[in-house]
């Protein structure tokens, strides 16, 4: 290019007058959260656009969000309710089951999707700068949005099976949001773990099986567990706590204070531990 002069090789004695910041260095925790807030539009757009894509490709595809848990509920009802008769002690086994199954899947899908969010978004991570915690967050937000139809189905089933509509039903909304925070904690934790140890993807389903059977989804715990020790184990399981609270809100089933407090504590702990654990690995996510 004739008109342009070519600057000679950089001489190191030139002072850099403007303030330089170190690129790629992780900001303070407060700065990180502030950056996440600043990028909230992008964080929200990712799951929304992904849903839009799924919505376009198949009409039935979106329906499976409800059909799947519904059919699952039907199967459990048949096997455990009708055939095995584990529904003793439960007034409204259908609604009881629906709430348990839907809420369990809400957490399971959020955490599973969150755990994959870093390893399956390598392209994004390698070409754009943004707080990586947005990736698990987007998964959790997506599942929260996807929980709206199941929530409506729960209300529907409750009405159809004779439950009275009371104001406590509205409590389900903040409950779902609170459970979302628990899910976020789990998603953040397992996102980094799965990135570090790819085998986690195979281990997680087993962990969730344990959680499933330990959450009282299929049966009423007080009817089967006599000892206080056994009851305590369930009370300390946060998912059991959330499911029990939802059953209390819809059907008036009793829920122990221990379970409520345990769920709250677990939610806060999961969120804090998950978050700090995740951002601790922020520098490594672009590798591999």
């Amino acid at each position: 290019m004739a008109g342009l002069a070519s600057p000679r090789a950089a001489t190191r004695d030139v002072e850099a007058p403007s303030p330089l910041f170190e690129v790629g260095r992780r900001p303070s925790t407060l700065g990180y959260i502030r950056e996440m807030w600043r990028r909230r539009h992008f964080a929200a757009a990712m799951p929304l656009e992904e849903m839009r894509v799924q919505h376009m490709t198949s009409v039935l595809g979106n329906l499976w969000h409800i059909l799947n848990p519904l059919l699952m509920t039907g199967v459990y009802f048949l096997v455990f309710g009708v055939v095995l008769g584990t529904d003793r002690g439960v007034d409204n086994f259908m609604a009881f089951l629906a709430i348990g199954v839907f809420q369990y899947h809400y957490t399971q899908k959020s955490v599973m999707a969150g755990s994959r969010s870093v390893v399956s978004n390598q392209g994004l991570i390698r070409s754009l700068t943004f707080p990586r915690a947005i990736l698990p967050l987007a998964s959790v937000i997506a599942q929260m949005i996807a929980f709206v139809p199941p929530l409506l189905v729960i209300f529907l089933i409750a009405l159809l099976t004779g439950e009275t509509l009371t104001w406590t039903w509205a409590l389900l909304v903040p409950l779902v949001v609170a459970q979302g925070f628990l899910n976020l904690g789990g998603a953040l934790l397992f996102a980094r773990l799965t990135h570090k140890i790819p085998d986690m993807e195979n281990i997680l389903p087993f962990l969730f099986r344990l959680v499933f059977y330990g959450s009282g989804v299929l049966y009423s715990v007080d009817r089967f567990i006599a000892s206080g020790m056994g009851q305590m184990m369930f009370d300390l399981n946060p998912l059991y706590g959330y499911i029990s609270m939802a059953r209390w809100a819809i059907m008036g089933d009793s829920v122990s204070d221990t379970a409520v407090i345990a769920a709250a504590v677990w939610t806060v702990v999961a969120l804090v531990v998950g978050f700090f654990f995740f951002i601790g690995g922020e520098q490594e996510y672009a590798n591999e």
Binding site: S6, P7, A16, E49, L124, L128, A286
Partner: protein
């Protein structure tokens, strides 16, 4: 006339440093395949120690305002790695990279969704680059205009030709008016008119006292677009000078069969 003024030492000394790379070393963690020991074969376990590929070995570089810096070199020389380090995407394990503002890598394609329309993807791309929704809506029309995609705007991105996609990515990344733009091989795609348009855009950015760093295998494009070129080899910069000098020197090291190919 302007040439003389431009190389006057006074003018050069006051040029702002946009990106400063200080003795940066960047490496990738890899799992190399090794013949497993008998114990490993039996237990099926993999040895835990990772091995590294040192892609950038102690590079120091100042990118100044008004630079359109080209990085050339053979495959595996470390050009793209250095660029990613400049963009803050691959932090160096030694040394550091400083910049006045967050550099923008022309890689917004990773955030786009092929099944959605060009229009939606423009918004998504702008959001991905850090714009707020209001800013994205304001800049949208500029992107559309530069990319010249009016009729195709509502068609899914996957129906676009590679040239159209290249125009779109380039339009999105440059419309946000980054002060520092990092372009990785993205200028080699697209037809002649796009190449001219993108070259003109880069000039605009440069004139606005920004800086551009370009990685490309096309030596002709580098020679035409850049005002400074660095030649990288095995993770280090071996030459840093004007485009004609460096490109000529690099060409000499390329075997004659290849040279004939490149001359075409």
């Amino acid at each position: 006339m302007s040439e003389a003024a431009a190389i006057a030492p006074a003018a050069q000394a006051s040029t702002r440093v946009m990106v400063r790379v200080e003795e940066a070393c960047v490496r990738y963690r890899v799992h190399t395949e090794r013949r497993p020991t008998m114990r490993e074969r039996l237990t099926g376990a993999r040895r835990a120690t990772p091995s590294y590929v040192e892609a950038v070995r102690g590079v120091s570089l100042d990118v100044r305002a008004g630079d359109i810096l080209g990085l050339i070199g053979g495959n595996g020389a470390g050009k793209s790695t250095l660029m990613r380090a400049m963009g803050g995407l691959l932090p160096p394990h030694r040394g550091r990279v400083l910049a006045v503002t967050q550099p923008v890598l022309l890689g917004v394609g990773a955030a786009l969704k092929p099944q959605l329309s060009g229009r939606r993807n423009i918004t998504l791309g702008l959001l991905a680059l850090g714009m707020t929704r209001t800013q994205a809506h304001a800049l949208g029309p500029d992107v559309v205009e530069f990319a010249e995609l009016d009729e195709a705007l509502d068609r899914p991105l996957k129906t676009y030709s590679s040239g159209m996609k290249a125009r779109l990515h380039f339009a999105i990344a440059t419309t946000v008016a980054p002060e520092i733009l990092l372009v990785d091989e993205a200028l080699s795609v697209g037809d002649q008119s796009f190449k001219e348009k993108s070259a003109a855009r880069l000039q605009e950015l440069k004139e606005r006292a920004g800086a551009v760093v370009v990685v490309s295998h096309s030596l002709d494009e580098i020679a035409e677009t850049c005002n400074r070129v660095c030649w990288m080899k095995d993770g280090q910069i071996v030459m840093d000078d004007g485009p004609d000098e460096v490109v000529a020197a690099y060409r000499k090291t390329v075997p004659s069969k290849k040279r004939k190919k490149q001359a075409r």
